[in-house]
């Protein structure tokens, strides 16, 4: 049973967007801070640090998670995916990302990373999720710019393209 002392850092290793990463963290280090400062993955944003705004939402072991409500040491050995891993290749956007652009579903883009991770996870888990379910998932995110409706429309559009296999944009 490892007991990690409050004052000491310990190695933390996990898979981030398909590649192994490692760093050191003391027990209290939040995963959101670890991703941003140790891994340099600054696409995950921190908006409230108490789990309400949803900006820091990532995928841990295939499920949605608030990275601000997770300790870095908890992520040891985990498979983590963040917004940086969504695009199929540099310079291209995923179907969901394209739909966001087409529908003006972002303005400042600060909350967007978390919203994309939630929706991307939803469409992986439940390809046939209806609008009610989409709204339910979006309910875990705060956005101040868009008034939400363009986000809902982008999600519905992306989902229908994903389902029909029509990923042309």
């Amino acid at each position: 049973m490892p007991r990690l002392s409050r004052d000491e850092t310990t190695p933390v290793r996990f898979t981030l967007n398909g590649a192994p990463v490692s760093g050191r963290a003391e027990p209290r280090r939040l995963l959101s801070d670890f991703l941003r400062n140790e891994c340099g993955a600054t696409g995950t944003h921190v908006g409230c640090e108490h789990g309400v705004c949803g900006a820091c939402t990532i995928r841990i072991g295939g499920t949605m998670a608030r990275s601000c409500l997770t300790l870095a040491v908890q992520a040891e050995g985990a498979t983590i995916e963040t917004v940086e891993g969504l695009a199929p290749q540099p310079g291209r956007l995923s179907v969901l990302q394209e739909a966001f652009r087409r529908h003006h579903a972002l303005q400042c883009g600060f909350c967007t990373a978390g919203i994309l991770m939630s929706l991307d996870t939803l469409f992986l888990d439940e390809p046939d999720a209806g609008e009610v379910r989409i709204r339910d998932v979006l309910g875990g995110h705060l956005c101040r710019c868009t008034g939400y409706e363009p986000i809902v429309q982008a999600a519905i559009d992306a989902q229908s393209r994903l389902r029909s296999g029509n990923t042309d944009v």
Partner: protein
């Protein structure tokens, strides 16, 4: 010379081009302030904030904090006073406004000390070790209390909490009121709220001692008049404060103007710590101490004819700016000064404006900026006039609208409305928004016994603020002495590089609105190239870029002012290129055409030069450019509209350049059982002049609408009666989610502004002005009772329903020994009693026995007797996982042995502080002694702000625990007891 593309009708401008900003943001490669590369020796700051709303600072002890490994420096008010000057105060007053408390705190959350450490975690550890000794003062919380001269002033040198008063008269309001058929008045209160962006404030600062200069990057949004405020505060010339903004900012909505006091603090911290310092505000700091809209009390009266025509308005506004009248306040109060008659032709206006200070966070810019406060009164009054006179509210609005043929229209208070056809827009909204159907629906719903109402609002949305409008707060004589302030400089630079590609820079500091996309369209249209061939930079560096005091992202100035200025700069480049091209193409300048990436002779497309080659010419071959032409390399245009003159001798002020029009209507249903309001339909009609990008305009409308839903129903920085903030987390400050925000029907009507280069007006703030009051009018219509304040919470709606509550059954008695929490605050009061099998004297004696107390007080480590009537206890108290250690001091007075005593005391700990007083009475009964108590306590600090849900219940629980322990103790040994309430209330109020 009129070449190329006409204003607003270009191939690209006016279309919804995909945003160039989006790809990076969608991939997580945006460049927000906390994403930028960091210097290797960067340190991190955390700010200790006042746990008291109002107190003198007796001492600040940073000794233990300084010793913590990893701490580089600690900065206190004393350091700030030594190294800087106070921030500018909005009007001439003997008020010192420092960005940190010096010897007195005046609001909960006010900075008291700054720790600079190796990382934020350690910096926060050090905050816990700083000891502040406060002497609490009574808090002045409401504007009503501030007007009461019996309350002590926040600023002794000012002598009053009423810090500014001005009266204005335009036309002949007295005569109009005297002649009026009716006088109809309304009194309303607008709450404190803010469109809290999801990204908080951030500052990175460094100081160069060799040049005595500061280099600061902050997600500041402008206005850059604040740069002058900062330079003065830091005591450096403007050229020794290099202020930069990051390429991306996570929303602002006015709020990020309020980062500026923190810029001073972090700049000084970098100087003291001798290294670069970063501070990223956390959400708790943001909600408690960033900035909010002003809360305002308004009494508005209209002189009204029988047909609903308003002939005069009389405004009485009391503006609460919080603890300091900090620049740019009282701008919220004066931003609308030219528009106090809204969309209506009302020739006579009287205004009384009072500004008060209270023990709350200082206010600042916020989306709508003054508009929500003004229109909540004006449009509630318009609705009330219709109700009182038995008229159709649409008819009252229509009767008062400024006629289309009156533009440009000078309002009574001095604004020059640029363009509009308000009646035309109204009619189009009613028609295209299917208003008749809504009326039918209301009838049908009401026939079913349901609570359904319709509301409206007609609003004029000002944009492009006159930099001189705030000076309306001064008398004409004072203005004369101070010198005129006016105008609104916008800047844009268009540059050509050696490969002939086009770069644009503006000082608009976007906060997510997509400025780069629109500027690409505007400039491409002028130069006949593709928007993708134009590269736009919008982050600002005051050391390198063109800027002026009006620069920044506020007063919806991008579309009307900045994009128009970019067009002018592009035209200047184009005209120079045309002169060069004319020689090469052998045509006159008038015959040079810019289109499709080519510069050609009109009528002869084969006689053409690729745009890139022409654009590169001044770099590669300047000598070949003939004498008739100038070099075309880089053009910077400063543009200020001539209409924005200084306030005149009669206090008339054209406070803004552009005036858009909005007409909203909506239908709401109220759930009778819960008080929830369901928005059934919402229609919003906008005339924002020429539309440059339809997708972004709708985005602005939708965003403002969502913010307004928050203001109408959910959001309030609520304060308790004692000055404690009650909404310090996102669990208590309620930002609407997708479930609360319906999609409005958006309609457009375009009347181009004759005052702006592209005909565009601002559009970003209108719904924050129109929507809260339209919804309030709908709720008022549904209930048949006027709404007078916001937000419309379920409790408020239920109260307006005025249903008698089923009585408390006689069989149910209220819990006797539990304190009843005070309404609406973190102030706690309570009373109770308990019986003990002991005599009065026995109880009395143990009251003064520290050892017994130490055994029975929950979580008590020790009780020390400081004197015969003064105890000091060391206790750990908590609810569930929330635990803290406290030092509790209690003093006894009015001792009537063994019958009664008065207690007063304080508790201090890392999680907060408490103070209060209480009374204890002992009475003999047949079986022993009855002890009764009552108390009043107040709680400050973190728990008060973030743990509101914990607080009241916790007081009850701690008292309960105490009684159990006391009962056990008393049953073991008759004659041992203490004072149940007296410590318990302190502890209860002190977790």
């Amino acid at each position: 010379m009129d070449l190329g593309v006409a204003a607003g009708s270009g191939r690209h401008t006016g279309t919804s081009r995909l945003r160039v900003e989006d790809a990076a943001l969608l991939c997580g490669s945006g460049k927000f302030i906390d994403d930028l590369a960091e210097p290797v020796n960067l340190a991190h700051a955390a700010i200790l904030r006042s746990s008291e709303p109002h107190a003198l600072i007796r001492s600040v002890n940073v000794g233990r904090a300084r010793e913590l490994p990893g701490v580089h420096a600690i900065i206190t008010g004393e350091d700030v006073r030594n190294l800087s000057s106070p921030l500018v105060v909005g009007v001439k007053l003997p008020m010192e406004c420092w960005p940190i408390a010096i010897d007195r705190v005046r609001y909960f959350g006010e900075p008291v000390a700054i720790v600079v450490a190796c990382n934020r975690y350690v910096a926060e550890d050090a905050l816990d070790l700083i000891e502040i000794d406060y002497e609490p003062l009574p808090a002045v919380v409401t504007p009503q209390a501030a007007l009461d001269q019996a309350n002590p002033p926040l600023h002794d040198a000012v002598g009053s909490n009423l810090v500014n008063e001005r009266r204005f008269s335009y036309g002949d309001p007295d005569a109009a009121f005297a002649a009026a058929a009716r006088r109809i008045a309304i009194s309303v209160a607008y709450p404190r709220n803010a469109v809290t962006p999801i990204e908080t404030y951030g500052v990175v600062a460094r100081y160069d001692p060799h040049e005595a200069s500061y280099d600061v990057t902050a997600n500041f949004q402008g206005p850059f008049s604040i740069h002058a405020v900062l330079s003065r505060a830091l005591k450096v010339p403007g050229n020794r404060l290099r202020l930069r903004t990051p390429p991306d900012s996570g929303g602002s909505f006015g709020v990020k103007q309020g980062v500026f006091p923190s810029i001073v603090l972090i700049a000084l911290a970098a100087r003291v710590a001798s290294r670069p310092v970063k501070w990223i505000e956390d959400r708790l700091e943001h909600l408690t101490a960033s900035v909010s809209a002003t809360n305002r009390l308004v009494t508005l009266e209209a002189a009204v004819e029988a047909d609903g025509r308003m002939t005069a308005l009389s405004w009485d506004q009391v503006e609460d700016v919080g603890a300091y009248l900090r620049a740019p306040e009282p701008a919220t109060l004066y931003r609308m000064h030219g528009n106090m008659t809204g969309a209506y032709a009302i020739p006579n206006v009287a205004i009384r404006n009072r500004v008060v200070v209270t023990n709350k966070t200082p206010t600042g810019l916020n989306r709508g900026f003054g508009g929500p406060q003004v229109y909540f009164a004006l449009e509630r009054l318009t609705a009330k006039i219709a109700t009182e006179l038995g008229l159709d509210p649409i008819a009252v609005i229509r009767r008062n609208l400024i006629p289309a043929n009156a533009f440009p229209y000078r309002t009574a208070t001095g604004a020059l409305y640029d363009s509009g056809d308000y009646a035309g827009a109204l009619d189009a909204a009613l028609r295209d928004g299917r208003y008749a159907q809504l009326l039918t629906r209301r009838d049908a719903m009401r026939a079913q016994g349901r609570l359904y109402g319709i509301g409206h609002a007609a609003v004029v949305e000002p944009s492009v603020s006159n930099m001189g409008y705030v000076s309306t707060v001064m008398t004409p004589a004072e203005r004369m002495k101070a010198g005129p302030k006016n105008g609104a400089q916008a800047t844009a630079t268009v540059a050509l590089d050696p490969l002939g590609s086009v770069s644009v820079h503006v000082a608009s500091v976007p906060q997510g609105q997509g400025h780069r996309t629109v500027l690409g369209q505007v400039v491409a249209d002028v130069l006949g190239i593709r928007p993708d061939d134009v590269q736009v930079v919008t982050d600002l560096d005051t050391a390198r870029d063109a800027w002026s005091i009006a620069s920044g992202n506020y007063s919806s100035r991008f579309a009307p002012a900045v994009s128009g200025t970019a067009k002018l700069a592009a035209e200047r480049i184009r005209d120079k290129l045309a002169a060069i091209a004319a020689a090469q193409l052998n045509v006159t300048v008038e015959d040079v055409n810019f289109a499709d990436g080519k510069v050609s002779a009109s009528g002869n497309p084969d006689n053409a030069i690729p745009f890139g080659r022409l654009a590169a010419a001044s770099h590669w071959a300047p000598a070949t450019i003939g004498d008739d032409a100038a070099q075309a390399l880089r053009e910077t245009v400063y543009w200020t509209p001539p209409q924005l003159s200084a306030p005149d001798a009669q206090d008339g002020v054209n406070s803004s350049l552009c005036h858009g029009f909005i007409f909203d209507f909506c239908g709401v249903e109220i759930e009778r059982e819960t008080g929830r309001v369901v928005i059934d339909r919402y229609v919003t009609m906008h005339d924002c002049g020429t539309i440059l990008h339809p997708g972004m305009v709708d985005g602005q409308v939708r965003g403002g609408f969502a913010n307004a839903i928050g203001a109408a129903f959910y959001e309030e920085y609520a304060y308790g009666a004692d000055g404690a903030l009650l909404a310090g987390t996102f669990a208590d400050y309620l930002v609407p989610t997708v479930a609360e925000v319906p999609a409005p029907d958006i309609l457009h009507f375009e009347t181009a502004s004759p005052f702006t280069p592209l005909g565009a007006k601002g559009v970003g703030e209108g719904n924050c002005m129109s929507t809260p009051v339209a919804l309030a009018n709908a709720v008022s219509d549904a209930l048949g009772v006027g709404v007078e304040r916001l937000p419309m919470t379920p409790s408020m709606i239920r109260a307006l329903c005025s249903e008698a509550e089923p009585a408390r059954p006689a069989s149910v008695t209220p819990p006797a020994s539990a304190p009843e929490p005070a309404t609406g605050g973190r102030g706690l009061t309570g009373s109770g009693d308990a019986r003990f099998p002991a005599t009065r004297q026995e109880l009395w004696d143990t009251l003064l026995d520290p050892d017994t107390l130490a055994r029975i007080i929950p979580g008590c480590h020790s009780v020390a007797r400081v004197s015969d009537t003064h105890f000091r206890a060391d206790v750990t108290l908590g609810v569930g996982p929330v635990k803290g250690r406290y030092t509790v001091d209690v003093e006894l007075s009015d001792l009537v042995e063994p019958a009664s005593a008065t207690l007063s005391g304080t508790a201090r700990g890392a999680l907060g502080s408490g103070s209060g007083h209480g009374h204890v009475r002992l009475e003999e009964t047949g079986e022993g002694t009855r002890l009764s108590y009552d108390y009043e306590a107040r709680v400050g600090g973190k728990v008060a702000a973030v743990g509101g849900r914990l607080l009241d219940g916790a007081a009850r629980m701690v008292i309960g625990q105490f009684f159990k322990a006391l009962g056990r103790h008393a049953s073991k040994a008759s004659g041992s007891s203490s004072m149940p309430g007296w410590l318990a209330w302190l502890f209860g109020g002190a977790r």
